[in-house]
């Protein structure tokens, strides 16, 4: 090795190198051919290692056929018998004559156990558990203005949305850099966080009495280059099966597509269009990643009858005319539905309304930095305007979000007006009538910034409206992480809060608690978390990480509403 730096670079360990060393190395690499070549070779090696060759999907069947399926059934019996023997030991000792009796008992027990095993095996249907689900829930379809079950009965989606923390987490060593660059610092997960859906969550959701969950995902989970893709799919199938066993449909909702999504947009919307992250409608690579992800999911889940449908994208934005405008937006929404249909002909597809569009030169838009109207001069400012485009396919349900009036629902500013709310739903209902009467699904919710009474009043009002217009609905949302750095009021819509990070943030001491560091203590005060912590999470000097907060009346109201419409 000629270059003296190369040894250092070989030693380089991403996790332990200091910033200064990193800078020094980066500078060197930009000028040294030898080091550069080595790093390229290392990158190629990594890519080669990660790249998964094609595997015979039915391979697992060979494995299942070659193991002894009675192995652990027998084991259980053996354990029972051994325990039985242990209990009988003193008796054996004193009475040899009883050995014959014991033998007889054992023979009866063994044969009984074997027969019952045989019964289980013999009667068991040969279920291909991994490629379909055996459930009473059959494919949902659309029929005019209704969603219907396989036997033709109208079905209202009484849903609750599981966001599954799709936006991700603060990642040490990455997030801070992103924040400094003015980008969304939260990193979308490659593997779903374990806390989002535990066994207790399944139990809680079961007790809610909803008939559908809207299951949020982000693109990265099922991206082709994610080495965990197949285990993520296995986990998703497990979740779908768990819900099906509770008679709950699962709708798969893509909350964060590749590129621009509703969360990183909070950082991008202030930037001019030229430097803003592109959306799947503007960028061809993101577009093909988006399509490939849905093709993969559609292929994997096509046998699952309890999958209610696919929500292809969340809160999309129409690009400016320069980037193709409403035409490219309509074309790509239509195309992705076509691609899914090629694989899965039966599935409902949820097509959302756009929640905004980029301005074209000459159009006025509201500039939230200066708080004034500005005339667009090619900077592609955001116009918060909503609308549907038609997808010319059967089995489409149009989806809209309903957080209205926005300032009231999210920040508790002013109050709501029943007529204005109804007008908005009516407007959408008229649009679907205009294209031939398709079903609709609304996603709605209200944050804790409003008092429980106000929240209930709003909920009852919108429920009456939804019922009048015959739309399906999903409450947004089931559970979110709580903690010092999460506002417990503004924007906190979740019914349950889970204090994920409590062991890092606080220490329990003598019947009370202390924050482990000043920053957390300060943030907790600012985010109204101190009172939430004391009221909901700290019980008798023990932390109960999952809390219903003050949302019991909300759950009751939802249950009541769902019951009426079941």
């Amino acid at each position: 090795m000629k270059c003296s730096f190369l040894k250092e670079i070989i030693n380089y360990d991403e996790n332990s190198v200091s910033i200064d060393t990193n800078k020094k190395l980066q500078k060197h690499i930009s000028t040294c051919k030898e080091c550069k070549e080595y790093l390229e070779a290392l990158m190629i090696s990594k890519k080669y290692i990660v790249k998964e060759p094609e595997v015979n999907k039915n391979f697992y069947k060979q494995v299942l056929n070659s193991v002894d399926s009675n192995r652990y059934k027998k084991k259980k019996i053996n354990i029972i018998l051994m325990q039985y023997f242990e209990k009988l030991k003193p008796v054996i000792k004193y009475s040899l004559g009883s050995v014959a009796v014991i033998c007889a008992v054992v023979i009866i027990l063994v044969s009984k156990a074997l027969i019952s095993d045989w019964d289980i095996v013999g009667n068991k249907k040969n279920v291909d558990y991994f490629n379909s689900n055996e459930t009473n829930l059959n494919f949902l379809q659309t029929n005019g203005h209704d969603i219907i079950t396989a036997d033709g009965k109208p079905f209202k989606i009484n849903g609750i949305t599981l966001t599954n923390n799709f936006w991700g987490n603060w990642v040490e060593g990455v997030s801070e850099k992103l924040r400094i660059e003015g980008k969304d610092p939260v990193v979308r997960p490659q593997v779903q966080d374990p806390w989002v859906l535990t066994e207790n969550d399944f139990e809680r959701i079961k007790n809610l009495d909803c008939n559908t969950v809207l299951y949020g995902i982000n693109y990265e989970l099922f991206a082709e280059d994610n080495p965990y893709r197949s285990s993520n799919m296995a986990s998703l199938k497990n979740h779908i099966n768990n819900f099906a066993s509770m008679e709950i449909y699962t709708a798969i909702m893509l909350m964060a597509p590749p590129g621009l999504d509703s969360t990183n947009d909070l950082y991008e919307m202030y930037k001019p269009g030229s430097i803003r992250i592109k959306s799947v409608f503007e960028d061809d690579i993101y577009y093909s990643q988006w399509i490939n992800m849905w093709k993969y999911i559609a292929e994997e889940l096509k046998g699952f009858t309890s999958v209610a449908g696919y929500g292809i994208i969340n809160q999309p934005r129409v690009p400016s005319d320069e980037d193709g405008g409403i035409e490219v937006f309509t074309e790509r929404l239509n195309n992705i539905c076509k691609e899914i249909r090629k694989i899965d002909k039966k599935r409902i597809i949820f097509v959302p309304e756009y929640n905004s569009r980029e301005a074209n030169p000459g159009e006025p838009y509201w500039d939230s930095i200066t708080n004034s109207y500005k005339v667009d001069n090619g900077d592609q400012g955001i116009i918060w305007e909503r609308g549907f485009v038609q997808v010319k396919q059967p089995n489409i349900v149009y989806l809209f979000h309903f957080f209205e009036p926005y300032d009231f629902v999210t920040s508790g500013i002013n109050d709501f007006d029943t007529f204005a709310l109804e007008e908005q739903v009516e407007h959408r209902a008229n649009w679907v009538k205009g294209i031939g009467n398709s079903p609709m699904l609304v996603e709605y919710g209200i944050s804790r910034v409003n008092s429980i009474d106000k929240r209930l009043r709003w909920l009852e009002t919108v429920h009456t409206i939804f019922q009048k217009y015959g739309v399906s609905y999903s409450y947004f949302h089931y559970k979110a992480s709580a903690g010092s750095y999460v506002s417990m009021e503004t924007g906190f819509n979740a019914i349950y809060g889970e204090y994920i990070n409590w062991q890092n943030e606080i220490t329990l001491k003598n019947g009370s608690y202390v924050f482990n560091y000043e920053d957390a203590s300060q943030a907790a005060k600012e985010n109204n978390f101190v009172s939430a912590l004391e009221k909901y999470f700290l019980k008798d000097n023990v932390i109960e990480p999952v809390s219903l907060l003050d949302n019991e009346p909300i759950i009751d109201s939802l249950r009541e509403f769902w019951k009426q419409n079941n």
Binding site: K46, P53, Y72
Partner: protein
């Protein structure tokens, strides 16, 4: 990771009553990644499926021995590593014909990386041959490091060596890569 939580449930269902559906899910969540691991270790399509099958049978038959001192994936990979090792012995010599053409094609064409100076297929093949010809233990540690981003501690547990030894093996593999590049450069093959 969510899958870990699920794995625990699945394992308990298998051990308590022999639930084959749970075993089926377990196999399916590992079959792609383990296939990849075995394939990268032995470079033979024919043998990969046989070895993989052997691994899963061992996992199943020994499942009652698994305790959660280590993560399940560490345990599974340690079985995989040992099975691959004994397959080397059985076959005595390693196959000389490579079936990596398709993969090279795919990784080189998926490259949108402008920093790459040389993108030719031959170049990729040469690099990958260096990795494939590493000594067995170095290659195992290197592949585990990048396949699943295992920590050195985990690699140590999988290979039954110390954390430091695992780190050394990866380091040695990287050094060999650098040295081989220099030889190729001298020969004018780069």
């Amino acid at each position: 990771m969510t899958i870990m939580k699920h794995e625990d449930i699945l394992i308990s269902k298998i051990l308590n009553g022999g639930d084959m559906e749970s075993f089926s899910v377990l196999v399916q969540s590992y079959q792609v990644q383990l296939y990849n691991f075995v394939y990268k270790m032995i470079n033979s399509k024919e043998d990969t499926e046989d070895i993989l099958q052997e691994i899963f049978i061992k996992v199943y038959n020994n499942l009652y021995k698994y305790n959660n001192k280590y993560s399940f994936s560490t345990w599974v990979y340690s079985i995989a590593v040992n099975t691959v090792k004994s397959s080397y012995k059985k076959r005595k010599c390693r196959p000389s014909n490579y079936f990596i053409d398709n993969l090279i094609e795919e990784i080189s064409s998926s490259d949108n990386c402008p920093e790459l100076l040389i993108e030719s297929k031959e170049y990729y093949t040469k690099i990958i041959e260096v990795i494939d010809n590493l000594k067995e233990k170095q290659k195992t540690a290197f592949v585990l490091k990048y396949l699943k981003n295992f920590s050195y501690k985990e690699i140590g547990n999988i290979m039954c060596i110390s954390q430091e030894a695992a780190k050394m093996k990866v380091h040695r593999a990287k050094t060999i890569l650098a040295e081989k590049l220099e030889i190729l450069r001298k020969k004018g093959e780069l």
